[in-house]
Structure formats: structure tokens, C-alpha cells
Amino acid sequence: MSELRVPRLNSNDTEYTLVEWLVATGEPVRPGDLVATVETSKATEDLACADAGVLRHLVAAGTECAVGQVIATVLPVGARVPDGPRPGTPGPEGEPLAGEPIVTEPARRVMAERGIDLAAVRALGRPVIRVADLDALTPPDPGRTEPLSPVQRAVAAVVSESHRSVPTGFVAIAVPVDDALRHARELSRTHRCLIGLPELVVAALGAVADRFPHCFGAYVEPGAVRRPDRIDVGVTIDVGQGLHVPVVRDVAAKPVAEVAKELMRHRLTALRGSFRPADLTGANVLLALHTDDDVTVAVPIVLPGTVCAVSLAGVQPVVRLDADGAPVTRSVVQLGVAYDHRVVNGAQAVELLRAVREVLLAPVR
């Protein structure tokens, strides 16, 4: 197969008019046959073909043809010429064939980056395709992403697993804490360590646990609960280095001062960021501390493998009437518990909270 190109016929013009085809498409040609007439701005000239074969027109008579443009091919002798113009060939009058858009170079680069093919672009039905037009073919850029810290990735794994596997309920009760706060201050002085509501709640959980074994157990498929051997309380600590849940061990057997010292060690470890795995595993209840006084109530996440997660909110002042009917200001916290509803129901959860409240209201060891 050979090609018939428009030769340069003068120095003025960059394109010539193909006036007529002297040989029809599909007709046989011999070397030297005059097959087409082109017109320059000065003259007309006949073009000869170089090879023998069957002529196939690529452009129609009347078309403007650039110097060097291929206007016909000579197919092997005996070849059949398919009907219709060859795809991608410009139509007469220099107009592009319908459906063949002009794609800008920036748009071509974006097509390559996003793996968009020409067929998809053609389907847009636009004569010109710019980068903005390609947005219709690709979802908007999700924006920049950055990886989470390893600590937060661990948190993400735990809370995802909790949401996936633990169907929870939640309940909270109000606890007057004026007396408990006074006790805590006295204990701090006596034992020379920081004792506050969190330490009292951890100790109270230890004190009441033997009455609520299911609340400190774990759900076991299909429909069983494992009872706890001892009460290990995981406490949320976030000192700016990420959220950790170190575990205070065997709180039922420890006086509150011991609990307080163990918690303080965990806080210092949290500051250094060097928890060992043993510090963080084995809790059978969670205490989520939301003790910022702006927090009114908090719904905690139940740790997978436990049943209850207790939350301690901030201290709120409330106005109450005293025995004589006079208004007085009291400090109250909302003590909440999220519970695995497969194991525990709302009534037991409330009973657990009331039991903890009893301990807080009574004098503490």
C-alpha cells in the first residue's frame, strides 16, 4: 500500500483546493496515472500516482488540503475498498467529523494521569475538551490525606471493633459530690498523694464489683458470660501524647491510696510515652474520664472483651433546697455507664451506678 501526498507546488500557499478526483475511489490505477486535480492560488495541477493498485480516496473533492497531507492510498491490486470515509479524516470545509473533539494538551495530560480514554471524552459531546470538562468523568479530588499517629491508629482499631461487635445501651445518674470532694482532699493530705473523684470512682468500682459480676465479665458466644477473676480497671489518660488506657490492677484488694499511686505512675508514663503492653491489657471495666467541668455527660466506648464502660463527667453546680426549704448550691457529677446489652440490661446498669454512688457518699477508707 502506498500513499498519495499533496506536493509543494509553489512558495506562497500552505494549502490547495482538491478540485476533483480524476479516478473514482475503488478504481484500479497504474503508475503515472493522473488521479486528482488541485488548485493553488495561481494555477491548477494534476497529481499522478506512483504505484499500481486500487485507489482509495481519503478526502472529498472540494476539500482544502495542506501541503504534505495524504489524500489517498493505493491499495494492492484486487483489494476491495470499504464504503464511507476513513475515521478521523477531516470532513469537507475543514470541519471535524461529528464526535471527534479537540482535546487541549493540559487535558491530554490529565487524561493520561487519570486513565481516561478518548471514548469517554468523546461521549461528553463537546467540541473542545479542557481540563475542567474532565471533572465530569472523575470524582472530585478527595483532597490531601495525612497518616494518623500510631497511637490514634490503635484507638481507631479499638473503637471500630467496639462499634462493630458490641451493641450498647447507656444510662447516667447524678451524684452529689460535695462530701466526696471533701473526703478526697483529706485523703490527699493524709496519704501525701493526689486523690480526686477518679481515684474514688476506681476504688468504688472495686468495692462493689462482687455484687455485679456480669458487669465486670465478658460476653462469650453463643450467649454466655465469663466471670472476672479480679477487678482490673482501665482508665483513660490523655496528657497530650494521645489516648491511652492503662490498667489499675486488682482494685478490690487495694486501698484508695494504692489506687491513686498506681494511677499517678500511669500518668507519668503517659507523659514519657513509654507504656509497656502489659500496662495496657487485661481491663475488665473501663473508666472514661471526662472531668473537664464543661462536660455535662459523656457516653464512653465499651472496650471489646468487657461489658461496662463507666464515664465520669465534670463537676456541675446545682441549686437544691435544704431540709428547711432554703436554696443551697451543691456540686453534682453525672456518672454514666455504657453496657453490652447482650449481657446487662438498663436496670442492672442503674443498680451498678447507684452502688458506686453509695460508696462515694459514704466515708472512704
Binding site: T17, V19, S41, K42, G94, I102, P127
Partner: protein
């Protein structure tokens, strides 16, 4: 299917139609009769078809415009061909001091249907005295109209309108356009469409449908339009900078109305002309746009003119002096924000 017409053929047909329509119309010029048919073959065949009306004259531009003026005063009409626009300086007195003044200086308005055709511009290697663009010297003369042909405007309509106005006029014809193709109605090329808008003789607006506002409004006379089209294509395809091109056929008192809305919306406005800077069509139009759109333009209207030097004959030197498509493209890119 009719083959597309080259601008030279189109001009030839327009002049033939004008001569056929009015036997008091004369066509005057040097070497315009057959077999030579004029330096650019615009009048080829016309002296054979209209031997009484097509008259070859001696080499005297002042003389042949003077004849045309006399014909007009005597109730005839005349179209004069300068062989090169550069030589129109020799007829400056007849055009400015006689033809233009005769319209009004005799106490009553006198029709002076005289058209001076001027093959203008370079890019042909013809050197300093055969390549100039002298349009600016004829702007602002009372009762003298200045037009420029383009690949978009119909020259038959132009000649009919100019002769009908009875005001002497120059029609500049970029000589590179002659061998180029006339654009079929509505279609500038495979990318751009065009419409003729505004008062006669119309401003061609070349654009891609559906892109508004354009990044840039380009305004050029007909001779620069082809280079502007090349620049517009390159700017769009390489850089996605969109341009809308305005090509008025009338250079003196260019109609502002068709241009103002787009110029106010576009990111920038660039006016391009052939010829050297200084008291030019482009500078005057830029001033008018600044006045009309003060406070609305996104930046100053910029003007691109030829370099401040004579037009060299050597092609590579000529290219440095005259406005090229690349000059237009680079200017638009610099102004693009």
C-alpha cells in the same frame, strides 16, 4: 460542492459585480488591465469584461486619484487601485485635501464616491518601501473613511456600501490575505465559529461557542486576523487560555458597542495591529476602551504593534520587525493571571 474561494478571487468577483451593477463605475490603476491583470491579479479578466470601465493609468498616484476625484465630481464613481499601499503617500494630497474636503467645502454636501484600494502589509520579503501599513495616516480626517478587508467580511457588500455612502474611502487589503481562503459563513476553522455583529460593515466575532467569559479579548484588523487565529488555537490547545477575537472592517470610528460587553468581562484586552506604534488605530481604540470601561477593566488594554524600524527584505529580519502569531501568543500569556 463549491470549492472554497481565495480572497483574491472573492475581491475579483466583488469588483466584477460592482462594475456590472453600475456602468458609471470606473476602475483605475496601474497595470490592472489584461493580460497582466494587476500586480496581485485582483483585476484579472475585468478589463476584458468591462473594457470601457476598467482603465490602466500612467505611473502617477496623484494623477490617477485626481482622475477619480474628477469622475466623482462629474457624477460618476471610481475605485482606484494602488499597486502597493506604500505609494498612497503620493496621493495623500488628492485624498486628504481634495477628495475628503470636496464633500463639504462647497456649501452643500457633495457625494464623492471614490474608493482607494491599498494592498498593504509585509511578510512577503518586499522590503521597506513595499511592505508598510500606513492606515494610521488616514485616521481622523473628516469625510474620509478607512476600512480593512478580512477573511470574514463580504467584499461585495463592502464596496457597495462604501460607494453608496458617497464619502471617499480607503480600503486596506493585506496582501498575504489574497492567496488565503475566505472563511465560509459562520465557520472560521475546525475550532472557531464566527458571527458578524454590530452596525455595517460589521465586526466579526470569532470564538468557541459556550466559553464565556473568555480569558482574553483580542481586537485586530482583518490583516492580522489570521495570525490571531493561529495564536488563539495555540493558546487554547497548549495552555487552555481562551480568546475571543473581534475583527472590525471599519478602522476610523470603529464601532465600540460589539466589543464593550466582552472587553468588560474578559481577563484582559489586547489590540494588535500591523505598522509601527504612535498615533495609531490600536492606540486610539485602547483610549476609547479605557474611557468607556473605566473601573470595569481587569487591567490596562495592551497594544501590540510592529517594531520601531523599517521592514527588512530578508525574511528572518522581517520576522523580527513585524507582528507574528508568536508575538500575540506571548503577549496574551504575559497578561494571563
Amino acid at each position: 460542492m463549491a470549492a472554497r474561494q481565495r480572497v483574491a478571487e472573492h475581491l475579483n468577483a466583488a469588483l466584477g459585480a460592482a462594475l456590472a451593477a453600475d456602468d458609471r463605475l470606473y476602475l483605475l490603476g496601474q497595470d490592472i488591465t489584461d493580460p497582466y491583470g494587476g500586480a496581485f491579479k485582483i483585476t484579472r479578466g475585468l478589463s476584458t469584461r468591462f473594457p470601457r470601465q476598467v482603465v490602466a493609468t500612467p505611473i502617477s498616484e496623484a494623477g490617477l486619484v485626481g482622475i477619480a476625484n474628477g469622475l466623482a465630481l462629474a457624477g460618476n464613481r471610481a475605485i482606484v487601485e494602488m499597486m502597493f499601499a506604500d505609494f498612497v503617500t503620493l496621493a495623500f494630497d488628492q485624498i486628504v485635501n481634495f477628495a475628503a474636503k470636496s464633500v463639504s467645502m462647497y456649501g452643500q454636501r457633495l457625494p464623492m464616491p471614490v474608493v482607494v484600494r491599498c494592498p498593504t502589509g509585509g511578510r512577503r520579503g518586499y522590503g521597506p518601501t513595499h511592505s508598510q501599513s500606513l492606515q494610521k495616516h488616514f485616521l481622523g480626517v473628516p469625510d474620509l473613511d478607512v476600512y480593512e478587508i478580512s477573511p470574514f467580511h463580504d467584499c461585495a457588500d463592502l464596496f457597495t456600501g462604501v460607494l453608496g455612502r458617497g464619502v471617499p474611502a480607503l480600503v486596506f487589503e493585506d496582501k498575504v490575505l489574497y492567496t488565503g481562503l475566505r472563511r465560509p459563513p459562520g465557520t472560521a476553522d475546525d475550532l472557531f465559529r464566527y458571527d458578524l455583529v454590530g452596525p455595517w460593515p460589521g465586526t466579526a466575532v470569532v470564538r468557541i461557542a459556550g466559553i464565556d467569559p473568555p480569558d482574553c479579548v483580542l481586537i485586530t484588523p482583518g490583516g492580522v486576523a489570521e495570525r490571531a487565529l493561529v495564536a488563539m488555537r495555540e493558546l487554547l490547545i497548549s495552555r487552555e487560555i481562551t480568546c475571543e477575537l473581534y475583527v472590525p472592517a471599519r478602522l476610523d470610528r470603529t464601532a465600540l458597542e460589539p466589543i464593550l460587553p466582552a472587553a468588560a468581562r474578559a481577563g484582559q484586552v489586547v489590540i494588535v495591529e500591523d505598522g509601527t506604534a504612535g498615533g495609531t488605530w490600536a492606540a486610539d481604540l485602547a483610549h476609547q476602551l479605557h474611557t468607556a470601561l473605566w473601573g470595569q477593566l481587569r487591567g490596562p488594554v495592551r497594544v501590540v504593534s510592529a517594531a520601531d524600524g523599517v521592514v527588512p527584505a530578508a525574511a528572518h529580519l522581517e520576522e523580527e520587525v513585524l507582528v507574528q502569531a508568536g508575538t500575540i501568543s506571548a503577549t496574551v500569556q504575559r497578561g494571563h493571571r
